[in-house]
């Protein structure tokens, strides 16, 4: 395989006509409205220039015009696949500014919801990655299971996709009586499908041929580009904010951080990034099981919600949390009124996408699509 790569590189240095191809913004596999300007030499990609901003919805401007609780729905719409995980760092940031202590029960529900949403996100990530490789059926298996998770969230929050469920100091609603049982049932289904997809897709010979040894991201480059989440862990860096910069109650749970090991190809290739997501789903299941067992039944989820929200003037905080895609941070600056002075969202996908031109050079055009899929971006978060 290395030999092939060498031939590809030698070939790409030959004198020949190059073609500029415009991939997107309307293209089936750019995961939204990303536009890539690609220079190809035959089938070999020699240059990639991402053009973003086709979904720039002025999030930061809106934050300046809204009060603190009003920002939460806009936060949802950043990474719309994992809205619960988005709300959490923002809510935590404002809670820290106001120095609110969140009730125990709320913390547990937040953990369960965030981990469920992490599973839902990884299901979409792996499903669309398979779709990029041409496998359509696993996509539908994952989407079938994702519905079970969405039903739980819908029963709790009233919405299917964008929840507005985490409020500052509490939650919008308490959970319903059969919540714990349904969560455990959903996990059982998730595990069943994961085992099936492992056979059907992940260890499929064609799939390994397609995804191993392409898009290799070395660990030092990943850190220099500030990649995080499965993109960084796929390169073998054992770093997870839930353990390394722990927040909320994650120190009470026992779970592993899966990293890429270069099992079928080189360390840090597309297959490694993908398998990390598969293993992370299992870890999330473990966390949810422990959280469900420890969660107190009584308690008011709204008791700590402040009536008046005015953080001290000049106070500012950068709060980050482990989004399914990586580190999502909110930099909140207060000016003493009920509206924030400035909120900057450090979009995970925005940062992870910036590494694409580096890791996709010298591979084939078909690989470019897979490399993009393996980074798992959401354009709402890239463009904000």
């Amino acid at each position: 395989m290395n030999e092939t790569k060498k031939i590809q590189l030698e070939y790409s240095q030959m004198e020949s006509d190059r073609m500029r191809l415009n991939v997107g913004p309307q293209h089936p596999s750019t995961h939204g409205v990303l536009r890539l300007e690609v220079e190809i030499d035959g089938e070999i990609v020699t240059e990639v220039i991402p053009h973003i901003g086709y979904l720039h919805r002025c999030f930061e401007k809106h934050c300046e015009k809204m009060t603190y609780p009003q920002v939460i729905p806009y936060v949802d719409r950043l990474d719309y696949i994992s809205a619960m995980n988005n709300e959490w760092p923002y809510v935590m940031a404002v809670e820290k500014l106001l120095e609110i202590k969140v009730p125990e029960k709320v913390e547990y529900i937040r953990v369960i919801m965030a981990e469920l949403n992490r599973i839902a996100n990884h299901q979409i990530a792996v499903a669309t990655f398979g779709l990029d490789a041409g496998a359509f059926t696993p996509f539908l298996y994952f989407f079938r299971d994702r519905e079970y998770i969405l039903w739980i969230m819908e029963k709790c929050s009233g919405a299917r996709l964008l929840f507005n469920y985490f409020w500052i100091g509490g939650l919008a609603h308490d959970v319903y009586p059969s919540f714990k049982q349904e969560v455990l049932d959903a996990i059982k289904q998730v595990r069943k499908t994961n085992a099936e997809v492992m056979n059907l897709l992940i260890y499929n010979k064609i799939f390994i041929d397609r995804t191993a040894n392409i898009g290799i991201l070395p660990a030092d480059v990943a850190i220099n580009y500030a990649c995080s989440g499965p993109t960084l862990r796929g390169s073998g860096v054992k770093w997870d904010l839930r353990k390394d910069d722990t927040y909320s109650i994650y120190n009470r749970f026992d779970f592993n951080i899966p990293v890429g090991k270069g099992e079928v190809g080189q360390l840090g290739d597309c297959w490694d990034r993908n398998i990390v997501r598969m293993y992370e789903m299992e870890e999330s299941c473990k966390i949810i099981e422990q959280a469900v067992a420890q969660m107190p039944d009584t308690g008011d989820v709204k008791e700590a919600i402040p009536a008046k929200l005015r953080p001290p003037k000049g106070a500012e905080i950068y709060q980050r949390a482990e989004n399914p895609k990586g580190e999502l941070g909110f930099y909140v600056v207060s000016n003493g009124t009920e509206k924030p002075d400035r909120i900057k969202a450090r979009g995970t996908s925005f940062v992870n996408l910036s590494v694409l031109p580096v890791i996709s050079k010298g591979y084939m055009f078909a690989d470019l699509i897979l490399i993009l899929g393996s980074i798992d971006i959401v354009l709402g978060e890239v463009d904000r």
Binding site: T4, M19, L21, H27, P28, S29, E43, G130, L131, D132, A133, G134, A135, F136, T137, L140, Y141, R144, L200, L201, N204, I206, F207, D209, R210, M364, F365, A366, D367, L368, I369
Partner: protein, 350 residues
């Protein structure tokens, strides 16, 4: 000429008969294409825990008909920058290539439009016409995606024709004929007389069975590549090339491409059935054999092969273009040569 067509026997050798003989496969093709489209929709739905089209007629059986009625009405766009004569001609050439192959396909013992002695050779010859149409359409559209799709398609077709042809050549050696009717007749009897299982013969044929089975597999894989089906659908790989060589086509011209793809699927299935699976012979000796049963078995077996093609499409991911070439030139070709060598040895020693 091989067998006289039964229509000629029935109606005499006149113009009406000739027209009828050429029109019957077309009629069959239309019905078959509609069935195959419906089958593709329904089988994929069934494999993915869906229901598929439901609201067009009973359980959606009229869906392909609606598609055709819609496609006839669609606007026919010719891009400004396209090379108009080539652009307009391409779909018809692709379809002609697929339809011409029907001339030698033996539907039953008594119906083959033209029983020429070089049947298999003819199929491989006209099968390559499609590639010309594809590259014409892809180039004339003046679009980078279609050009890439067309280039890939031609490279793929040429590479996979060789192992496919080697597989068929082995059958020609075994049956000592290129006439498709003769090949079918050589396989009369129970299903172990099929060339897939070494052809007719006694116990000494046992050691050639692995090679003939291998050749069947090789032809199956090569036929998938020739019809641009997953896992070899890179010329129209949706995830990278939008829609491949037919990106710019709309309306009825697109329908022609669509139609030709399904026709090609049937042609390769028919060749596979004829060469390896006994053609119109009943698998159970003389049980259920006869003129009409022959057509039944032939079409039934072909549909089974098409079902396998659809099944694979919805199960496997897609290969990359260099891996496809690697598979074609470095694995399938040597293996097919080895199989051919042993089959020839077997033939020589007997």
């Amino acid at each position: 000429m091989g067998e006289t067509n039964f229509l000629i026997k029935l109606l005499g050798d006149n113009l009406i008969t000739v027209l009828l003989i050429s029109a019957l496969p077309l009629g069959f093709l239309v019905v078959y294409a509609l069935l195959a489209i419906l089958g593709e929709l329904k089988i994929s739905a069934w494999m993915q825990e869906r229901v598929g089209p439901m609201r067009t007629g009973w359980k959606g059986v009229l869906q392909p008909l609606a598609e055709v009625i819609k496609l006839i009405q669609k606007e026919d766009i010719t891009p400004d920058a396209a090379n108009k004569p080539l652009y307009n001609l391409a779909p018809y050439i692709v379809f002609t290539g697929a339809y011409a192959a029907f001339a030698v396909i033996p539907f039953s013992e008594f119906f083959v439009p033209s029983g020429i002695n070089l049947g298999l050779f003819y199929i491989f010859a006209v099968g390559s016409i499609g590639a010309i149409g594809i590259v014409m359409g892809g180039w004339a559209s003046n679009n980078k995606y279609t050009l890439l799709g067309a280039m890939r398609s031609v490279a793929q077709l040429i590479s996979y024709e060789i192992p496919g042809a080697m597989a068929i050549l082995s059958i020609a050696v075994l049956s000592s004929s290129l006439n498709m009717q003769e090949i079918n007749k050589a396989q009369t009897g129970w299903f172990w007389n099929w060339f897939m299982f070494g052809g007719p013969g006694s116990y000494e044929k046992l050691w050639v069975i692995p090679f003939t089975l291998g050749l069947t597999l090789i032809y199956m894989i090569a036929s998938l590549a020739e019809t641009n089906r997953t896992p070899f659908d890179i010329p129209e790989g949706e995830s990278e090339l939008v829609a491949g060589y037919h990106t710019e086509y709309s309306g009825m011209k697109f329908a022609m491409f669509f139609f030709a793809e399904y026709a090609n699927m049937f042609v390769v299935a028919a060749v596979l059935v004829t060469a390896f699976m006994g053609g119109w012979n009943s698998p159970f000796g003389s049980f259920l054999s006869g003129p009409l049963w022959g057509a039944f078995w032939f079409i039934g077996k072909s549909f089974f092969v098409i079902f396998v093609q659809i099944w694979l499409r919805w199960t496997l991911p897609r290969l990359r273009v260099d891996q496809l070439m690697y598979l074609g030139w470095k694995i399938l070709l040597p293996v097919s040569f080895i199989c051919f060598l042993f089959v020839s040895l077997f033939r020589m020693l007997n």
